[in-house]
């Protein structure tokens, strides 16, 4: 189990600093990407980055259009879908592109690290990783989506209540399993990809010189990249779906 530097160690508020930092880094990357696209926007000859961003925009737009029942909810979910898609795409790829592990003396006293943690990981401390390969973060996003969807659903309390009790008790059960699977799916895919990549990278060469793991690393890297992309899409479209299921404006409009 990798060890991360933490804030408030030893209390219930223990916080993974790397996750918070990489969330902001991912946000910064997405922000710069979008600002560049805006600055380079050309009305007549769209190319390169602009095409990519426009494609992502249209993609999230059609994603929202497919699952959202009304124009209002579509407008609401559009920025969320677009930004989540790009954010998760970048976040999932971060750990594949780079992961930094620093080796500390297990007996040293380092800021943010408890001596027991250092001893369990034999001094290896991760300083850079995908934020989504952290379960707390992935579940946090999923529960955030859950809260948003119910907040929208509660704007029409009668319909929301009827919706909950429609398939009693499975409707209620679903409200617990949906956010759990939503977050755990993202976390599991990314985490598994990075763990296996780390294991392959740390594996010793055969006879100390044959890099037997190189083809496996390349193969696994490609597969993980595919999974990272797909998971960004899956998380975003499920988010649209969950919010769409709790948006009852369509019924009241027609």
């Amino acid at each position: 189990m990798p060890v991360f530097p933490t804030l408030f160690p030893g209390t219930i508020w223990q916080t993974n600093v790397v996750v918070i930092a990489t969330i902001f880094l991912t946000g910064l990357i997405v922000f710069i990407l979008l600002r560049l696209a805006v600055a380079r926007m050309d009305m007549r000859h769209p190319r390169g980055l602009q095409n990519l961003v426009e494609w992502a925009f249209d993609f999230s737009e059609s994603m929202a259009k497919d699952v959202m029942p009304s124009d209002e909810s579509r407008r609401f979910v559009r920025p969320l879908a677009f930004i989540t898609l790009l954010f998760l795409f970048v976040a999932n790829w971060l750990g594949l592109i780079m992961s930094i592990t620093v080796h500390f003396d297990p007996h040293a006293h380092v800021w943010g690290l408890s001596p027991s943690d250092l001893q369990t990981s034999k001094g290896d401390v991760e300083l850079f990783d995908s934020p989504t390969s952290n379960m707390s973060m992935a579940l946090g996003l999923a529960i955030m989506v859950w809260v948003i969807s119910h907040a929208r659903g509660l704007r029409h309390p009668a319909k929301w209540f009827r919706h909950l009790l429609r398939h009693f008790p499975f409707g209620l059960l679903e409200e617990i399993t949906n956010p759990l699977t939503h977050g755990m799916r993202l976390f599991g895919n990314i985490f598994a990809g990075e763990i296996l990549l780390g294991l392959l990278l740390r594996a010793p060469f055969a006879f100390h010189f044959i890099p037997w793991q190189l083809p496996f690393i390349i193969l696994w890297l490609l597969y993980s990249g595919f999974v990272a992309t797909i998971q960004a899409y899956v998380f975003s479209i499920l988010m649209c779906l969950y919010i769409g299921m709790k948006s009852f404006e369509a019924d009241s409009q027609h």
Partner: protein
Amino acid sequence: MFQVGGIFQVGTFIFSVISFLIVFFIIQRFAFKPLAKMLEQRRIHIETQISEAEKSREEAERLLAEQQRLLEEARKEARNMLDQARIRADEQAREIVQKAEEEAARILEESRQAIVRERDEALAAVTKRVAELSVELTAKLLCDHVTPEVHKDLLAEAESKLGELVC
């Protein structure tokens, strides 16, 4: 599960959601909105361009049809005018010829009448002269034994006879 140092960290959970929301709102405010606005502008721009192009093409087609119609009309008019001019010219020519013919016929008639008149006059004069001569001759032959009454009678007879003879 919620124990300190476990795999699920409440602090990480809360702070990652908070930081994601911060990141989300910053991106939404300062990157997504301008982008969406520009894409919308672009879409509107392209749509107006296309509709304008279609409109101007329709206009051009309409103008072209109008021009062709006008050209056709002008051509038809020119042909009509040419035809009319030709008809008028033909008419005028015919009129001129007719007038000339009439004039000629008139002149001919006049000439003929003049000739007839002249001839009659000449004939009358000759007849008169011949009658006088023959009467004089007769008088001379009769050795002046003629009274003026007889002379008058003779003259009249001779004239009528001569007139019969001539005519």
